[in-house]
Every structure is written in C-alpha cells, then in structure tokens.
C-alpha cells in the first residue's frame, strides 16, 4: 500500500548517487596518492638507508678463533693440546623463558641442580646478543639427544670447537698452568680484536707466559644468515693463523716421576725441581698437592673452584717457584765457599760439643747432634752438617759476607725463569731489617742465618739453581722451561753468567773442590747425613741435606718428635747434583713438614736421579746394540 503511494524519482536517486560516486572516486585517488607517496618515501628517498639495513640483516662478519699452539715436552710428548668438543650455546634474547628452557634441557640431558642454577645465572648476566656457553664439553650421547630435540629449543645450538686438553693432568698443572674463560681483568691486558672469537685465555704457567705466541691471530668469515641467525653460506673467509707450538725443556718421564713421588708421600706437600746444569733447562718441576687443569678447560664449576681456593693444602699454589722456605743446611756449602775465599784454611777445625754460644752471651745455639760432632774440619762439617762449625764460621764471616755470598748465588732475587709469578725469597741484612722490621740487627741472627734459618727464605727453584751453580763451579745458569726458538726470543738476554767473574772474586778451583768433596761425602761417606741413599747408588751424587725449623724449641726444652703437631714439623730439604765430575743434572727437593732432609727429601732426589741415569744407560746400551 505504502510503497505503492511512493513514486520513485529514479533520476533524482541517480543524481544523489552520482554525487556520492564522485566523492568515492576522490577517496580512491586519495588512497592511491597516500600509498604512492609512502612508497616513494621508502623506496626512493630512503632507499639507500634501507638497503644498508637489509644488507646488515643478512651479511655478518664473524671472527674465527685460531687453534691454540700445542705444547710438547723435550722428548716429544704432548703436554697441552686441543681436542674437538661440543658446547651448548644460547643467545639470551632469543630464549623466551630461561627457567623453562633449563627445565626442558634437564629433561633430556640430565643436568644436576647446581649446574641448572649456573646456566640460569649465565643467561641472566650475559651481554646482549652474544652467544654464551651453557654446557661445555657435551658427550656424544648428549649431542645426539639434543640434536634430535633441537627444534624445541630456539636460540640454543650446539657449537663445535676445540677444548684445551692436558694429557698429564695434575702432573704438569703448575708448570703449564691452565686456560679458562676470559675475565674482565684479562680483557684489560689483551688486544680485544684478536680475541674476538676466543673464549679461553692462559691464566697461569706457560699458558699465561706465552699467551701471545700460543694464541695465534684471529681469522674471519663473512657469512650469510637468515632471520634465526642460522648460517646459510660462507661468502668469504680469512683463515686464522694458528698459535705457535712450543717445545719445553721438560722431560715428560722425569716430570711424571717427580709428580708421582710427591703424590706418594703420606699426605705431605712439597716440590721437586730438576734442571740440566749445562743449559739451565728445567727437566722436571713439580708441586704437590696439584689440581686437574682440564677442569678449567671445560668450564670449572664455582663449587670446585672455591673448594680448591679454600683448601688448606692450597693445590693451586705453585710451591716450586712461589713456595718460600728457610733453606736450612742446604746453604752450608755456600758459606764454606765464602769462608775459603776469605782465607779460611780447609784444614781449619772446630770442636763441636753440641752447642755454640756467642762471647758474653749465655744463649746456647744447639747443634742438631745433641752429643756434638767432636772435632770437625770443613769437609766433615759439610758431610755431617755440623751446625756448631757453621755457627762459628758465620760469626767470623759476619752478616755482610754471608749476604754477599747468598746474593751471588741468586738468593733473594728471582731466577728469571720463563714462568709467571715467581717469588724472590729473602736474604736478610741489617739494612733490610731496619727498613722492614724497624729493629737493629742482633749478632745471634747472623749465627742462625749461617745455618739457613732466621729470616732467610728460598724457593725450591732457587735451591736447584744453587745446586747447578755449585755443580758448574760458579757458572750460574738461568733456569728456563721453554726451548729457545726464533719466536721465543723475548726475554732472552744472557743465558748464563759466571758469578766468579761478575763479582770479581778469585776463582780458585781448590775451593770448589773442597766444597764438592764435602757434598760427595754427604752421600757417600759412612758418616754423611744422606748416606742412606748413597750405598746403592750406581751414580755418584754430590748433595746436601737440610732440615729447616718451622718452630723453635725453647732453651732447655726437650720435645719428642711425635709430640710436635704436623704443621710445626721441620721442612725436609735436599739439594744435589750428579755426577760430581762433569755434572749433568741438579736437583732440589722440598717436603713441607716432612721431618728430616735425609729421611724424607734425599730418597726422592735419588729416585729422580735413578730415573734420569738409568734411562741414559738404557739409551746408550740400545745405541751400542744397534751398532752391532
């Protein structure tokens, strides 16, 4: 009805519509215009900018770490090498939830809880957009398990790399040191760009000393990646220059022997240093207790590191070059030499009745032999280590002379060995005491310095150097562990110096002979303090025992040895060289709180010498038989 009454004016309707269509067409043109303007802005005006961004997106230059130089012993055994390893690395920004990730990882890889916490901490504290290692050194099984499940873990991948590896483990730990993750303090001392891809750096020992040589030069590769950072192809590469291989003067068998001798002592700490007296090349240098350097190479757990740091046995401490001990009687040959050079006759005799006292002083300086040695000459005094003889001798020489001779033999100074963090020891003098202790020098201190006690301190390496200098009759050799090559000519000024010529003292071979005779007698005469090792030795040995007090017994006290607690027991020392004529090897043994030098230290030296000379004999025999 209604619609019937309405008359459609189709022309009017069409006009209204066409008006609106014009507006619609205008709207379309406006939209086209907006799109075109925007595209001109992006594709023409800012084209260069976006081209750069697009290229940066997919072309990346990645540094390539050089393989670290291998370290060999002088007999060609690999002491430090690289082995392939697989590490799980993650980019924190690409991981959605650290806790979930670690939970899921632990489902397939069996990670214990402390390691889980460590991974979360690593991720939480990582630098932005860098891949951080989550688990190092995966087993083949773990690699396989992860690879199968890798689609579940965005931002986490397995990276193949090289891990530092020390075949002899703890035996060479202090000598070689170890590599560990680069810390912020390391970053200060190294060329940043060269370490762009390197994750580990030498922290101690040879690894630290020769870090620059061992490291090599970083390479690079230009790669194309996709949005997930996955490598698509390598566009260009510049290979890294591998680190320099090093050969050490160390004899691997002697080194292992030294380490095992110390290890087999009953819970005692100590050090053995053996060197070739002709060159100064160190043949063995061991410190015990030791640690496993491989633990650092595969990312040490904080718990283990703390345990090592806090252990009262201080396994990380290198006793060979950092341990400073009163040298005790081992310095007596030096004093004998000083006395002879100052006109003392070798026939000079002193009566030892068990103690010595200074004039106008009631204090008794005891000889280790309570009953006294009776009348002894110089050779006998060395042989039996008569304290009274040397008390008297020191008193006559005076502290100045004592200082001079000890200084000549290199005590109180670093030996200059090519290892980091060497300690200097200490040779006291009145000037030193006044400066450091603010106290005057007492004559009694001269007396006890004469038997290697008091303030006097020396490292086992210094003692070995003394033995070598004695063996060479005054020609001192500078100990070193890295064989000299063109590359290692860094701190290579003078290898040896003759302490006679330098100090301009008369080099009277008779003096040296007397001292030498005394030291041979120590081992081979029936009254020598180290006669226990002399009876059966095929090679002649010149040696000197030392038993240095850690704790002094009061004037009239009598103490049974059993009553002294372990940590106050005497240090056992022994220095030696062999053979006495044309000597080849010098050795120093220090066993902390080991009791007496003759009982504890000397047998170790003997075992090392046996190992050294027996092998020499074997080699000569095989040479002979092969020449038949």
């Amino acid at each position: 009805m209604k619609s019937f009454g309405e008359i459609r004016d189709s022309n009017l309707e069409r006009d209204i519509f066409l008006n609106r269509v014009i507006l619609g067409v205008v709207a379309i043109f406006l939209m086209v215009f907006l799109v075109i303007i925007r595209l001109i802005y992006l594709q023409v005006y800012n084209h260069q900018h976006y081209t750069t961004l697009s290229t940066d997106n997919y072309i990346k230059v990645r540094p390539v770490a050089p393989p670290r130089g291998v370290i060999y012993s002088s007999d060609g055994v690999m002491l430090a090498g690289n082995r392939p390893s697989f590490n799980l690395v993650g980019v924190p920004e690409k991981i959605r939830d650290n806790d979930v990730l670690v939970y899921e990882l632990s489902q397939i890889l069996d990670i214990d809880e402390s390691k889980q916490r460590q991974i979360i901490r690593t991720l939480d504290t990582a630098t932005r957009f860098t891949a951080v290692p989550l688990i190092t050194d995966l087993s083949e099984e773990q690699v396989a398990l992860f690879s199968v499940n890798s689609h579940k873990f965005t931002g986490v991948t397995i990276e193949a790399g090289l891990s530092r590896f020390y075949p002899l483990g703890g035996d060479t730990a202090h000598l070689l040191g170890y590599v560990s993750r680069i810390s912020n303090t390391d970053k200060v001392r190294l060329q940043d760009s060269n370490y762009a891809a390197t994750q580990y750096i030498g922290k101690t020992g040879v690894e630290r000393k020769q870090e620059l040589l061992l490291h090599g030069t970083v390479g690079s590769k230009t790669i194309e990646i996709n949005a997930e950072g996955r490598l698509l192809r390598v566009v260009d590469r510049e290979p890294p220059v591998p680190g320099q291989d090093l050969r050490l003067t160390i004899d691997s068998k002697l080194q292992s022997k030294a380490a095992s001798l110390l290890r087999n002592l009953d819970n005692l700490s100590g050090s053995i240093v053996a060197m070739d007296v002709r060159t100064g090349g160190v043949l063995a240098i061991a410190s015990y207790p030791s640690y496993d350097p491989n633990a650092f190479a595969s990312g040490i757990s904080p718990e283990l590191y703390t345990a090592w740091m806090d252990s009262p046995f201080r396994p990380l401490f290198d006793r060979s070059i950092q341990g400073q001990y009163p040298p005790g009687s081992t310095i007596k040959p030096l004093l004998a030499l000083a006395a002879l050079e100052n006109g003392l006759l070798s026939s000079h005799k002193v009566k030892c009745n068990g103690w010595f006292s200074l004039p106008r002083d009631s204090h008794r300086y005891r000889c280790w032999e309570k009953e006294g040695h009776g009348v002894v000459n110089l050779v006998e005094a060395i042989e039996r280590s008569c304290d009274v003889f040397f008390y008297s001798l020191s008193n006559d020489l005076g502290i100045k002379m004592i200082y001079t001779v000890l200084d000549r033999f290199g005590l109180g100074k670093a030996t200059g060995i090519d290892l980091p963090n060497e300690e200097k020891g200490l040779v006291p003098s009145p000037e030193w005491k006044k400066k450091v202790k603010k106290l005057p020098w007492y004559p009694g201190e001269t007396v006890i310095t004469g038997i290697g006690q008091g303030f006097l301190l020396a490292t086992p390496l210094q003692l070995a150097k003394i033995a070598a200098t004695l063996a060479n009759r005054g020609r001192a050799v500078e100990p070193f562990v890295i064989m000299q090559t063109e590359q290692v000519e860094s701190s290579n000024s003078e290898q040896s110096e003759d302490i006679n010529t330098i100090k301009n003292l008369p080099n009277d071979s008779r003096h040296w002979k007397v001292v030498n005779d005394g030291m041979v007698a120590v081992v081979h005469s029936s009254k020598g303090t180290a006669r226990g090792i002399g009876y059966t030795s095929k090679t002649k040995i010149a040696g000197k025992t030392g038993t240095s007090q850690v704790f002094s017994i009061g004037q009239d006290e009598e103490l049974d040895e059993e009553d002294i607690p372990d940590h106050l027991k005497d240090h056992a020392l022994f220095v030696a060289y062999a053979p006495p004529i044309n000597p080849q090897i010098a050795i120093a043994v220090v066993v902390e709180h080991g009791g007496s030098g003759s009982a504890t230290a000397a047998p170790l030296a003997r075992a090392i010498l046996d190992e050294y000379f027996n092998r020499k004999v074997d080699a000569e025999q095989s040479n002979l038989s092969s020449s038949y």
Binding site: S3, E6, R8, S10, L12, E13, R14, I16, F17, L18, N19, R20, V21, G24, V25, A27, I28, M31, V32, L34, V35, I36, R38, L39, I40, L42, Q43, V44, N46, H47, H49, Y50, T51, L53, S54, T55, N57, Y58, E93, E224, I225, N226, A227, E228, L232
Partner: protein
C-alpha cells in the same frame, strides 16, 4: 558469435581480464614468497579456479533474485559466524570453520553479505533512506561486526562495518546525519579502546613507534619496511629478495606478500599492480554508474570501493602507515576464502552489468 557466447554466459570481459591479470600476478609473487613451492602455487591456483567457477555461477543469478534472497543469505552467514565462535579453529584466535575437505573464514564472506543485505534493505525504500531504515541497517551491520570482533579479528570487523556503512553513504543519507554520527563516534571511541584486546592495543601503539619493541611486535613492521625500502625503484628482481628469502619477513605468503612484491619488483612493480587494480576498480565504478536500479548501483559501487579499501589497508599496513590488522591483499595474498570472496563479488558485478534491460 563469440561476443554472443560471452554475453549469454553473463561474462563481463574487462572485469574478467582484470581479475585474471591480478590472479596471475598473485601466483608469480606467491611462487617467490613461498620459497618456490609449486605445491603452494598449485593449491592457490586451484582455489582461483574454484573462485572463477563461483564467479561465473553468481553472474548467472539476476540481481533481483540476489536482493530477494539477501535476508536468507545474511541469516545463513550469521549462523556460520556463531559456529565459528563455538567450534572455530585457528592460532590463538577463532577464524576458521573446518568443513571437512576445506577450511574457510565466514568473516570474509561478510564483506559481501553485509553490503548485499544493507543494499537490499535500503533499495526497497525511497532514497535517501529514512531514520528507521538507517537504524535497521545499523543493527544489521552491528551484529556481524560484533561477532567478528569477538573472534577476535579487528581488521575484518572494521572492514565489514565500513562496507555496510558505505552503502548507507551512497544511498544518500544527509551530511548532517553523517556529521552527527561522527561526533557520536568520536565521543565513544575511548570506550572502544578499553574494549579492545591487549594485543590489539599493542599493535596500534607499536605502529606509532615500532623501534620501541624491536624484537616483539615492532620487528615485523621494521623488517617489512626494510624489505619495501631496500627494493628501491626497480626492485631486487624476482626470487632475489633477501628479506623475503632469508625469512626476515613474517607472514610473507599471506598478509605481508606485498612486502615481498615491493622488495623484488620495486616502485615500478607497485605502479603496475595499482594499474591492474584500477582496471577492476574503473570497470566496477562504470558498472555502478550504468546500473539501472538502486540495488545494483549501491551494491556494485560498494563492492568495488571495498575491494580497493582492502588493497589500501593492506598496502598501508605493510608500509607501516596503519596497524597490522590482518587484511589480505585481494587476489594476491595466499588464502582461499579471500580469493573466493573477491571472485564472488566480481560475479555479482558481472551479474549487475549483464542483466541490464536494454534501454536506448
């Protein structure tokens, strides 16, 4: 004779040509965007063929019949939308209905059904429509808009609402009414902000400063803009887009396929694409102008205009001028429902054009 056959099949040659050109262009870009997957291209080609058949089928139906059936079609589409909300599938959102052999998005169909319904409603009365008709129309528009918004699919909801409102605009409602509605709309806009999902708000915020969230939502926009910008005037060449092929681009076969196109074909390629679309738009506008009744006029101009609005929204979102709202590029983006819906719209246009009574 040939012309005769085409005429009898109710085919409009310029429109068909435009559609086929855009489809072919779409397949070429898709081949690159899909990492040269013949499977994907073949699948999309098959959907286009289905779309072409449906287009021909719809073209046979006279517009009067379409107007007559409109309420029924509208009711059916609403039921489908409700089904989506009840049984729909999709990642995080419910947009698809699984019909066994194929899945489709009923919300896409609404881009056709709502204008159809509103046009038929308005065309029954004298123009311009009275207030009551407008209210009914707004009610008709609001229901599907609300349902689509609930999926949630803000972009499509807006486009569907707009397609209905544009019908009203072309029906000649007074400017005064439009002005008052706009004021009213602005007044209630803040309410809309709070009614939005958090991710929708996030999208609008990131649009204004994509760098703020360079690894999250902004990442897509930044990478897309880099792709477009690095394409330059001439493009990097087909299959050579580094942004596209190294997977920096998100959704590069679907919503962001225009970025792939821009990167590989450059500004010149975009101009060519716009010319292709304008062939369709121009013909559609012409059909609307020559249409003989209000229903035909309104429906054809709105379908034409909304096609271009989709093009504009998609291009603007890819180039970072509009928020990422999930509107595909008509006939180019990978996806069946969108292509088929556009084809059906084209069929409707052909029907309106070819069922004219000849009046000289």
């Amino acid at each position: 004779m040939r012309n005769n056959l085409i005429y009898r099949l109710h085919i409009d040659t310029p429109l068909l040509a435009g559609v086929i050109i855009m489809c072919l262009l779409g397949l070429v870009v898709l081949y690159s965007a899909s990492e040269q997957s013949f499977d994907l291209v073949a699948k999309q080609g098959l959907r286009m063929l289905v779309g072409l058949l449906l287009m021909l089928f719809v073209a046979q139906i006279p517009p009067q019949r379409l107007a007559h059936w409109a309420p029924l079609v509208y009711a059916g589409a609403l039921i489908l939308l409700c089904l989506v909300l009840l049984f729909g599938t999709g990642r995080g959102v419910q947009r698809w209905l699984d019909a066994g052999i194929f899945r489709f998005q009923p919300s896409e169909l609404m881009k056709l059904v709502v204008p159809l319904m509103v046009a038929s409603l308005v065309a029954k009365k004298l123009l311009p429509p009275d207030f009551k008709t407008i209210l009914i129309a707004i009610f008709v528009i609001a229901i599907p808009t609300f349902l689509i918004g609930r999926q949630p699919d803000l972009g499509t909801a807006i486009v569907v609402a707009a397609s209905g409102l544009v019908v009203l605009f072309f029906s000649g409602i007074s400017w005064k009414f439009i002005r008052n509605s706009l004021f009213f709309g602005i007044a209630i806009a803040p309410i809309g902000w709070f009614a939005m999902h958090e991710y929708q708000r996030q999208r609008i915020l990131t649009l204004f400063n994509p760098d703020n969230d360079a690894l999250g939502a902004g990442y897509h926009i930044i990478q897309s803009i880099i792709a477009v910008g690095s394409g330059g005037v001439f493009g990097k060449g087909w299959l050579n887009g580094t942004q596209s092929h190294l997977e920096f681009l998100p959704e590069r076969a679907t919503d962001f396929i225009f970025a792939v196109y821009c990167e590989e074909f450059g500004l010149i390629g975009v101009v060519v694409m716009l010319l292709g679309y304008s062939l369709i738009i121009a013909r559609g506008t012409q059909i609307a102008i020559y249409a003989q009744d209000t229903f035909g006029r309104l429906l054809s101009i709105v379908l034409t205009l909304m096609l271009f609005v989709s093009v504009f929204i998609n291009m603007s979102m890819v180039t970072g001028q509009l928020p990422v709202v999930g509107i595909p590029l008509p006939l180019i983006s990978y996806g069946g429902t969108s292509v088929v819906t556009v084809m059906i719209c084209m069929g409707v246009l052909m029907s309106i054009q070819t069922h004219r009574r000849l009046v000289f």
